[in-house]
């Protein structure tokens, strides 16, 4: 079946602009994660959605970052007033079930470059 998909695959934006990154999880997966992969910091957790529960936003680096998950499926990560330090690969992952650390399936990522 189809895996996790993300769009766009690459995004170049000017400093100060807003960007939206999209994630389509595996059908039926209730958990969705966003991570950021940058040269200096490695892979960092950003935000977690599980079903209809309130998201865990503890990894978001600033209030310029926000995310939504509509209808328990597609998620959008929004970065407002982008800065050069936001340049990174943004990864989405999904997993099934609750009550345990199930395997996370990763998307191909969106490479964001802020000029």
């Amino acid at each position: 079946g189809a895996g996790v998909s993300q769009s766009p695959s690459n995004k170049v934006t000017e400093k100060g602009k807003d960007v939206e990154l999209r994630c389509d999880p595996i059908s039926g997966h209730t958990a969705l994660y966003w991570y950021r992969q940058s040269l200096g910091q490695g892979l960092e957790f950003l935000i977690y959605f599980q079903g209809n529960s309130a998201p865990d936003k503890s990894g978001l680096p600033s209030d310029r970052f926000s995310a939504e998950r509509t209808g328990g499926s597609v998620s959008t990560l929004t970065i407002q007033r982008t800065q050069q330090e936001d340049s990174a690969v943004y990864l989405c992952a999904s997993s099934s079930g609750t009550g345990g650390p199930y395997e996370q399936y990763f998307g191909p990522g969106t490479r964001l470059t802020v000029t």
Binding site: Y33, L43, G59, E103, F106
Partner: protein, 110 residues
């Protein structure tokens, strides 16, 4: 705070030689440990998890709680093992987000 340390950024071995990718962690509770792998131009994927006690592609990893380590081992490296390897942990409750190490690039020399 939980932390995962992979001391080697790059590890080069000859084909057929043994491989050991080191991973140490710090966590106050009882974590679950994983190894993820990213081959060239492919997405990040799970290689193995300690709770499964499996051998995947010839790789094994043993959780040593006394030394807080979860080293990845393979007795005979193959060229197709060349990839980026990430050690990760998650807690046993809550959101199960992964805390990753910074990764080790394994290069197997033919």
């Amino acid at each position: 705070a939980q932390r995962v340390t992979q001391p080697e950024k790059l590890l080069s071995v000859f084909k057929g030689a043994p491989v050991e990718l080191k991973c140490n962690y710090s966590y106050s509770g009882s974590p679950e440990l994983f190894w993820y792998v990213q081959y060239s131009r492919q997405r990040l994927q799970l290689l193995l998890r300690h709770i499964s006690r499996e051998s995947i592609k010839g790789f094994t990893a043993d959780l040593n709680k006394g030394e807080t380590s979860f080293h990845l081992k393979k007795p005979f490296a193959q060229e197709e093992d060349s990839a980026m390897y990430y050690c990760a942990l998650t807690q046993q409750a809550g959101s199960y987000q992964l805390t990753f190490g910074k990764g080790t690039k394994l290069s197997v020399i033919p």
